[in-house]
Symmetry: C2
């Protein structure tokens, strides 16, 4: 029988004609997780082959800001240098909240304890961090500074339960896209240590034995199928599935309103599908990161979002991705940011924003938006009354961002679906232990299979709780665990 190779069904080892390549640890994907898995597997003495579908390493991490979310242990070197104490328990508590209803305590405990050391490890691999602190509220720094406030730390309800500290640590790079430098350093390090990289090599499926243990990979390179033996294990680091629109439609259809994919293009879900093919279970496949970057200028954070019922629905000083999730779920996908003349500015990242209404009074704005008479003015007046006293009893926006909206002309910026362009990537993936072992539906590990990065359901697993740097922090840290675990297996 001719076996057709596809990620959704494994190849039985019995039909493998020969091993074209034989290695200890075979890694699928040479992005952030794959690079770090390779480094640790090599450090443990294993032979490592990395298979990358693109013609160079980096993956989607190379398009990122090159920022990791780390802290705890009293603070990283950089946090402490700038006077920010950061206890492990505060990082732990923050990550538990950030993980949402399915937060994984074991994974979080390990990360909270070791994140500060992980930052040192990244430096030791050659990733440069300048060590400076950049105050303010940023989507991503365009300077070469290191430390930024990159999440929900100072915003309710997070601030009420975990002592805030800035934890975004960004690679030393001027301009956007420091992820490229970040990934150059990590992939170079893996190669220096002896990883064998195979580019333009598409992994078609896993190879399994009769008992379901993973034995290797079928890879297509230059039109030929190669059979790869992985004596110790396979580590799936093949990204998420935002670039596979069929999968997004099936598993996370609410992400479809975001037209921009945060991906280098190869997040096709094949890593997840390969895991599923051998009995892995998936978690949180409906979850995704989204943003509608409504600031900078940061003055806009002082505006208030309302829906078509003239109701507020979020403290606007929370992380932009959390705001985006709330905006996207409003009735009929309609929401507006209300501003006055003191705080108005065109959002830098959405310069063509639709200004849906301008007026000298809030009643004019209300009429232009065709909202219920009296409703918008009531909401704004109630907000202003409290804001002038430095309070927001309904949504707990912090005093730093509270200002009554009193200076005409007033305006409503449209964040209605269709008017704004969102950016998204997926957070659901294979269930794994913190060690990277991939789990079946009974919660037991599948022999020979590991996963990390967005192929797994990791630390970032709840759109409402995302913070910048969480995906790269997770991918690098748990990539390391997965590589070390695979290398420690008896072959």
């Amino acid at each position: 029988m001719k076996h057709r190779f596809s990620p959704g069904r494994p190849c039985p080892v019995e039909i493998v004609p020969q091993w074209d390549i034989s290695t200890d640890v075979a890694i699928v994907g040479f992005g952030a997780a794959g690079s770090c898995a390779a480094i640790e597997a090599l450090n443990a003495g294993a032979a490592v082959d990395v298979f990358e579908v693109a013609s160079a390493p980096g993956g989607s991490a190379s398009l990122s800001g090159g920022e990791v979310y780390v802290g705890g242990s009293g603070g990283t070197e950089v946090q402490r240098e700038h006077g920010f104490e950061d206890q492990t328990e505060d990082l732990r508590q923050y990550l538990m909240m950030a993980g949402g209803p399915t937060a994984d305590a074991d994974r979080i405990d390990l990360y909270a304890e070791q994140a500060a050391a992980h930052f040192n490890w990244l430096r030791a691999q050659g990733v440069p961090f300048k060590g400076s602190y950049l105050p303010g509220k940023w989507i991503e720094p365009t300077t070469d500074d290191t430390l930024i406030w990159s999440g929900n730390e100072k915003a309710w309800p997070f601030s009420a339960k975990a002592k805030p500290a800035p934890r975004g640590h960004t690679v030393e790079f001027e301009g956007w896209g420091g992820g490229q430098l970040f990934m150059e350093k990590l992939s170079e390090r893996a190669l220096e240590l002896g990883a064998t990289a195979h580019y333009e090599s598409r992994v078609l499926c896993l190879i399994v034995d009769q008992e379901g243990a993973v034995k290797g990979l079928v890879v297509r390179r230059e039109g030929k199928e190669l059979f790869v033996q992985a004596r110790k294990g396979v580590v799936l680091c093949a990204g998420g599935f935002i670039a596979n629109r069929g999968m997004v439609k099936r598993y996370a259809p609410e992400a479809l309103v975001c037209e921009h994919q945060v991906s280098a293009g190869n997040d096709d879900g094949s890593g997840i599908r390969m895991g599923v093919s051998v009995g892995a279970t998936t978690l949180n496949m409906q979850e995704f990161f989204a943003t509608l970057p409504f600031f900078p200028p940061e003055s806009l954070v002082k505006g208030i979002f309302i829906n078509e019922r003239s109701q507020r629905f979020i403290n606007e000083d929370t992380y932009h991705g959390r705001v985006a999730h709330y905006v996207l779920r409003q009735p009929n996908g309609r929401a507006w940011l209300l501003v006055d003349n003191d705080i108005f500015g065109r959002p830098f990242l959405q310069p063509n924003i639709t200004i849906a209404a301008v007026g000298e009074t809030w009643e004019e704005i209300e009429t232009e938006l065709a909202l219920e008479p009296g409703s918008l003015a009531a909401t704004v007046n109630e907000f202003n009354r409290h804001a002038s006293q430095g309070a927001d009893p309904y949504f707990h926006k912090s005093q730093e961002w509270l200002k009554p909206l009193l200076t005409p002309p007033f305006a409503a910026l449209s964040y209605c679906q269709g008017d704004v362009e969102g950016h998204a990537f997926t957070l659901g993936g294979l269930a794994t232990r913190p060690s990277g072992e991939v789990l079946n539906a009974d919660g037991e590990p599948i022999t020979g299979l590991y996963a990390a990065g967005r192929t797994a359901c990791g630390l970032p697993r709840w759109g409402e709780g995302y913070s910048s740097g969480l995906s790269l922090g997770d991918s690098t840290f748990f990539g390391r665990q997965a590589g070390a675990s695979a290398a420690s297996m008896n072959s």
Copy 2:
């Protein structure tokens, strides 16, 4: 090597010592889906063995109200007799809305076209329906009447897009729990036609060949493992996973606030886990049906729900399960139903409801609930002003249920988490075609494997869109498809 049998990993056919039982179609679970799968497989000429972990047939369906959600084709016999026209397109449109973001158009098209005929089929199997119509708003009729309004048909936004008709068709049975009679009739029919039933028989895992095709089951009965050959296929009809708290925690943790499981106790997710073990993909595992039955008396539907911000959040005349989902997601899990003296009554199904506040004015209620001064009165006054004009511009509650809340004393019934008892069952499950074929992560069928009922992700797949009768309608109809599909396979 000794193979340990568990649902999460299949048994390789190579290690099967002998076939203890050999049949054409092996069905896991003798509930609604399993009974109907058996009937159709038998009608197609197949030999059928059904494996049931309990000591009698019925499954969780036997605890239900015995109600199916059917219509279309101009109306069922009963709908037409009582003057309700119901076009297939209206049923289709309603089901598309009810399915939420991942509604499955192919499945819905088939069901909408054949639901009225399916009702006749159920009658032909011996399920009695009296044929009468019961007006009003019910959780479940305790009379022996047939036709009721059982969903969101008359409520916004459903009513705006699909012409309403009552579609709940309930078995002829006095009192609660007509599902028992319903299931007696269907299981008797399957046995009459020649199904071999095995009770107190726990299915441990699937048996697969080298290519991943499903070949049978390992069953434990009286302490012994039996190897069952299924020449044509296995149909998984083993229910959902609400009774498996570990799975609920992992996949649908938000359901944990509902302390009552809508289950006969065997919804342990083993059907889903067996599907996953052979590479099936799952859909909507986070979704669940929930209810906090706040009426009858139906006068309470005229009350308004508010959250701790004194905001309304739902039209209260929508289906009680939809209301429950909105209540459960309010900030800090806090919500109250506000009533005046004209409409007050203790909810029949929650007689010990906490009355959180009573007062002569809304300001008193506000103070007792410790809400922001002025906020509750503003919300109620705005509601009353519109209600007195027969309008609800914000939430579109229908005129039939609109009444200004003006007659003191006023009260707030607590629907805060911890104060109310919810009821839940899971809606996520294996991805299948309308035929019942189980799909892998590439969307391709797994040879020899079928699923229906709550083991599959079927018509009811979105908690906010549930209607009474949808699960039983889906289980019986798609159970039939799965049984017929399996029987038509070449063995």
